[in-house]
């Protein structure tokens, strides 16, 4: 995970479903194809739902790191 260049970071730990996905999606829309977004996300429902919705929209989860009760997802912007 350390060799991936992070282009932007988004903390959605204060958001609730579905704003977690909405905020992530909007951020990715402002990025270029292939760029990487690090998403700081809570365990539980957000971690189950957000990656699934991102994959459905063509984005890739290229890395996950746990830090306490939070996760850092590395999302590659897809089409």
């Amino acid at each position: 995970m350390s060799d991936i260049k992070i282009d932007a970071v988004l903390d959605i730990t204060n958001e609730v479903c579905p704003m977690t996905f909405v905020k992530t999606k909007l951020k990715l829309e402002t990025m270029e194809l292939g760029q990487h977004l690090e998403v700081i996300i809570c365990d539980g429902e957000p971690l189950r739902n957000v990656p699934r919705s991102l994959k459905e929209e063509g984005h890739k989860i290229v890395g996950t790191k746990k830090e306490g009760n939070r996760f850092h997802l590395i999302v590659e912007r897809g089409s």
Binding site: M19, K25, E29, T30
Partner: protein, 269 residues
């Protein structure tokens, strides 16, 4: 595409949709739709388009709210009786979504002003209740190359279609070449309407307007969708471009806008 926190929350259920997203919502927020009439069709259409965040909504109507309108014209409340429909509409719509710029035209739309009115809009949604206005709006949209979302209702039936002759489809005159003579138009006493039928068609018109703004789905061009509330069915009829159409045909004879007359007791839904 700079949404406020309030807008992100307000439009989140649109943004979630893969086919809409932030980019699509941005298109909606920048779109300009003109609605002819704040009545049975214009009411539900305007409510949904305002709620959707359409940037500018123009509404023309020279009428005032009557108690007999309230059974289906859901922009207006009992306390609005006697008030100009466009001002009642403005109040209702701005209460739902203060982000929307509303332009009220409290005037009769005629051949003199229609070009100036529709010039500023991308899409025209016809919710008028009479043939002279429908022909006028159709002709004006044809000359100005505006997409026209047409709807009409009577009793338990409604129909709608999208006219985009500048993109190859038919126009209203291809479907109805001539204005029907007075005796063929139902009179006031014959022209009842089940309230929610107006809502059904008006809401479908709003849906087509949003599809047009977003550039998604199959447009209702060259297809007339006919709703029968009694059987709860939709039928679809093909509408072909008439090569002999007096307005959009090869040997068109109509080159100017025409104001038709209609008997005072013809349908006013």
């Amino acid at each position: 595409m700079n949404f406020t926190e309030e807008q992100i929350m307000r439009y989140s259920r649109h943004i979630i949709l893969k086919e809409v997203g932030g980019k699509g919502q941005d298109k909606i927020c920048k779109a300009k739709v003109f609605i002819m009439g704040a009545g049975g069709l214009g009411s539900p259409a305007a409510l949904y388009l305002a709620a959707a965040g359409v940037g500018t909504i123009g509404i023309a109507d020279d009428d005032v709210v009557d108690l007999s309108n309230l059974q289906r014209q859901i922009l207006h409340a009992t306390s609005d009786v006697g008030k100009a429909k466009v001002f009642s509409a403005e109040e209702t719509l701005s209460a739902i979504n203060p982000n929307v710029k509303l332009v009220a035209y409290k005037e009769r739309v005629t051949s003199d002003n229609v070009r100036d009115i529709i010039r500023d809009y991308d899409i025209v949604l016809d919710g008028s209740d009479n043939f002279p206005t429908r022909y006028l709006i159709n002709d004006a949209c044809f000359f100005a190359k505006k997409t026209l979302i047409s709807g009409s209702i009577l009793r338990f039936d409604g129909q709608m279609t999208v006219f985009k002759p500048h993109a190859g489809g038919p126009c209203y005159r291809c479907l109805y070449p001539e204005i029907p003579p007075a005796g063929f138009v139902p009179s006031c006493s014959e022209a009842g309407i089940l309230g929610p039928v107006a809502g059904t068609i008006g809401v479908l018109q709003a849906t087509e307007a949003l599809k047009e703004i977003l550039g998604i789905g199959d447009q209702l061009i060259g297809r007339l969708s006919v709703f029968d509330a009694m059987t709860t069915t939709f039928r679809e009829l093909k509408v072909r471009k008439d090569p002999d159409c007096e307005l959009c045909g090869e040997n068109a004879t109509i080159h100017h806008l025409v104001d038709y007359e209609q008997a005072p007791c013809a349908i006013r839904i």
